[in-house]
């Protein structure tokens, strides 16, 4: 309901102080995969988002093996929020309401408007998710759509908001 007014946070400072990692250039998809996994720690899901106490933490990737591949590697044996991380590649045949994080790329999935799922999209997607990846001079950054997070009852930590390239109310 709100205009997409960009609210800029003091990210320039944080970034300038952190040392640039000495990495051989990696693929855009691998960095996105790492974000998908790392973001889980900065988001709080509402009660009832998990079917049971022993349900795994599910990160779903729609039709994107380039992201799902590195993501599976990265999360092998990993836990978050005390739950085992499971990566699912969805080809249109699975109930996405069971996912905690859902990477849609520029695609879509039939998801309830208020389902407690952290939707992640690429820039240019017809409808942006809670988190929207964007490229800035060969860096993968992201924009957070707060209204969407509210509608899905997800609490985003201030740390994640501070790293975001922009926060849309």
């Amino acid at each position: 309901m709100r205009g997409r007014r960009l609210q800029l946070w003091g990210l320039g400072l944080t970034l300038a102080l952190a040392p640039a990692p000495a990495l051989a250039q990696v693929s855009e998809a691998a960095v996105k995969a790492a974000y998908l996994y790392k973001m889980a720690a900065f988001v709080t899901w509402p009660p009832g988002a998990f079917a049971s106490a022993s349900s795994p933490f599910r990160i779903c990737v729609l039709n994107r093996t380039d992201v799902a591949g590195p993501l599976s590697e990265l999360t092998r044996g990993a836990q978050t929020w005390g739950r085992q991380v499971v990566v699912s590649v969805i080809g249109g045949g699975q109930d996405v309401n069971q996912c905690q994080i859902l990477f849609l790329g520029d695609g879509r999935a039939p998801l309830g408007e208020s389902a407690p799922v952290l939707t992640v999209t690429d820039r240019g997607a017809a409808s942006p998710g809670v988190v929207e990846f964007t490229m800035q001079q060969s860096h993968v950054r992201f924009v957070i759509h707060r209204g969407q997070a509210d509608a899905r009852r997800l609490q985003i930590s201030s740390k994640l908001l501070a790293v975001a390239a922009a926060v849309v109310p």
Binding site: M1, R2, G3, R4, R5, Q7, L8, L11, T14, L15, A18, A20, P21, L23, A24, Q25, V26, S27, E28, A29, A30, V31, A34, K38, M39, F42, T65, D66, G69, P70, L74, G91, G92, G93, Q94, D95, R108, A109, P110, L111, G112, E113, S114, D122, R123, G124, A126, S127, F133, T134, M135, Q136, S138, H139, V140, D150, A151, L160, V163, P169
Partner: protein
């Protein structure tokens, strides 16, 4: 033909880049390093394949203004034409409670407005009667619109017929993005609206929504035109469903509407349409799309009956090879109309007629370098009234970085004769014009679009349009007749930009100017210039200021200053303002207070001597709920 967009071919190109990345996975070593990085370190990694596909501004080399779904909701507008006032490159004139005339780059007017292509989800909505758009036949649910692209200037190769001076491309949201219930109601002294939409998932990969939208507008005070009882009420309902398979996307949608006008008993309109579209991705670099629709409407106004049945089928194939993005396509449309006038002498001969239009097109976007692209396209078009017409366009786009785009274009466009151009007669006053030819345009344009800083965006376009064979009303052999008797050029500048001044305050400003130098060709004398050459203000200025006043409280103010219409009957310049104060009471309920034309109780907008009423101050309150 909305889907013939630049975006479509870009998506295919994007897919190629992604699969390229998949073939060369990151090494295990770097993955291990990624695992140990903090989230702000991730933000600094330089990645391969920094493709242009995620560029922040559209690379379409045209004078493009986009109205987003948020813009639509924040504006407080309740009808499509009021939404279109947001575009600085459109001139919107309210004619009566439900009728508007809308134009880009001139030639506005109830009779003269015939050079614009408007589409809703790929369905063309200008009518072949006079090549104008009857805006009061279209009440889509505004909450479910995805965006409105407004292109001033010829649409280039990829849009269908009649894209001469501009294109308004309205698209609704994918059904998978509208799951849930939405209800809206507005109440004001002069207008009531109510709408409900229900969207639900269908199977694992599809969704459908159904909606119904009711509107009831009181008539406006009499203006330049005859005092008429122009109150208007009705409803529109419809559905849209989207399904996605492994490589396929299907869309099926339709609408039905019924309206009652107060003018005379029985006046009003009704109609229905259904559209199907199938997109298949053949490979990472190629895809095709086919679309077909059926549309029917019938309207009655002051003893005139007008009906139109349209069947349209189109196909398009996109492929990327090397540095070339190729798009080819074909479209065919047939209409059957019926126009019966019991009000006065003017009638069509024959009253009912089937017309055909067909076109074939091809376009190549050739990437000369990372920064420079050349777009060459040609469309070959034929209609019942004309032979094959060749419409080429050549564009160049220079994008030195993600923040700046400079473009230039030269295009040829034509407006093919309408039924009125060829077959309107009123013996002995008006003789038909069986030899009326297409109006022709060569448009030369250039523009810049960019983001000078992180908090500002700016766009400026200039154009010179060279017209030939424009319509004139002349006196020939003892009676009036429509002729191709005028020519000349127009030029102007359109510019708009916005700036985030503070985290809670955003402003936007847009301006467009128009100079017209149209004159009679040798041996011709135009007698009624308002009917063909347009009723256009030479300038307009549109401003907007958005404030986040407090948590959940938002104020959106819009103002416009519109220059005078000097064509008789004259309309003076005016300044008007409106906007919306919205309070998101909860995440599910929004209350808003909205107004339009707040400064004056009434003002003149249209100079149509037959029908123009006065635009009026309107204030209304609304509620919107989502479940």
């Amino acid at each position: 033909m909305a889907w013939r967009s630049e975006g479509f071919s870009r998506r295919c190109a994007a897919f190629a880049v992604l699969t390229g990345a998949a073939i060369a996975p990151a090494s295990a070593q770097s993955l291990g390093e990624l695992r140990n990085m903090s989230i702000d370190q991730l933000a600094q990694i330089e990645v391969r394949s920094a493709s242009k596909r995620e560029e922040p501004l559209s690379s379409a080399p045209a004078a493009l203004y986009v109205i987003t779904s948020d813009d639509i909701l924040d504006s407080g507008a309740t009808t499509l034409p009021e939404v279109l006032r947001l575009a600085p490159n459109l001139n919107v004139q309210q004619v009566d409670a439900s009728n508007y005339s809308i134009a880009a780059r001139g030639f506005n007017g109830v009779q003269a407005g015939n050079k614009l292509l408007a589409l809703i989800d790929g369905r063309t909505i200008y009518t072949p009667l006079g090549s104008s758009v009857l805006w009061n036949l279209h009440y889509p649910m505004l909450e479910d619109l995805q965006q409105i692209e407004v292109i001033s200037g010829p649409g280039g190769t990829l849009y269908g017929p009649n894209a001469v001076n501009g294109v308004i491309n309205i698209t609704s949201k994918d059904a998978r993005d509208t799951i849930g219930t939405l209800m809206r109601g507005t109440v004001g002294a002069d207008e009531i609206t109510a709408a409900v939409r229900q969207g639900f998932a269908l199977g694992k990969s599809g969704a459908v929504r159904v909606y119904a939208d009711y509107h009831n507008d009181d008539g406006l005070p009499a203006g330049i035109g005859a005092p008429i009882d122009d109150g208007y009420k009705g409803w529109q309902a419809g559905f849209r469903s989207d399904f996605e398979g492994e490589a396929d996307h299907f869309t099926v949608q339709g609408d039905i509407f019924h309206t009652d006008a107060d003018t005379l008993p029985g006046d009003g309109a009704h109609g229905q349409n259904v559209l199907g579209r199938w997109t298949r991705t053949l490979s990472p670099t190629s895809s095709f799309q086919v679309q077909a629709y059926y549309d029917f409407f019938k309207r009655q106004f002051t003893d005139v009956l007008d009906s139109l049945q349209t069947l349209d089928a189109e196909g398009q194939f996109n492929t990327t090879t090397g540095r070339h993005d190729l798009v080819t396509g074909v479209g065919v449309r047939t209409t059957r109309d019926d126009f019966v006038n019991d009000l006065n002498l003017f009638h069509l001969n024959p009253e009912s007629r089937r017309l055909w239009t067909a076109n074939i097109f091809a376009q190549d976007r050739f990437r000369l370098s990372e920064e420079l692209a050349l777009i060459a396209g040609v469309k070959v078009e034929r209609s019942t009234f004309t032979g094959w017409q060749v419409l080429p366009n050549l564009r160049v786009a220079w994008q030195p970085n993600q923040r700046n785009l400079v473009w230039a274009a030269i295009s040829r466009a034509v407006r093919t004769p309408s039924r009125i151009d060829r077959q309107l007669e009123a013996p002995p006053f008006l003789a038909p014009s069986p030899d009326f030819e297409s109006e022709k345009l060569i448009a030369v344009e250039a523009g810049y679009r960019g983001q000078p800083s992180r908090t500002t965006s700016f766009s400026i376009n200039g154009f010179v349009n060279f017209y030939d064979d424009l319509r004139t009303t002349e006196f020939v052999n003892g009676s009036f007749q429509l002729e191709n008797g005028s020519e000349g050029h127009t030029y102007g500048i359109e510019a708009w930009g916005n700036a985030q001044i503070a985290p809670w305050w955003r402003v936007a400003l847009g301006v467009s100017t128009l100079w017209k130098h149209l004159h009679d060709k040798p041996g011709h004398t135009e007698l009624i210039p308002r009917n063909s050459l347009g009723n256009d203000p030479p300038w307009q200025l549109i401003g907007r200021s958005d404030f986040d006043l407090a948590n959940r409280l938002h104020l959106d103010i819009r103002a416009r200053a519109i220059g005078p219409i000097k064509q008789a009957p004259r309309v003076d310049s005016y300044v008007e303002a409106g906007g919306e104060l919205a309070w998101d009471a909860t995440n599910r309920f929004q209350l808003f207070l909205a107004a339009r034309n707040l400064i004056h109780k009434t003002h003149e907008e249209s100079n149509d001597p037959d029908s123009a009423q006065l635009a009026k101050r309107m204030v209304y309150a609304g509620v919107r709920a989502r479940f």
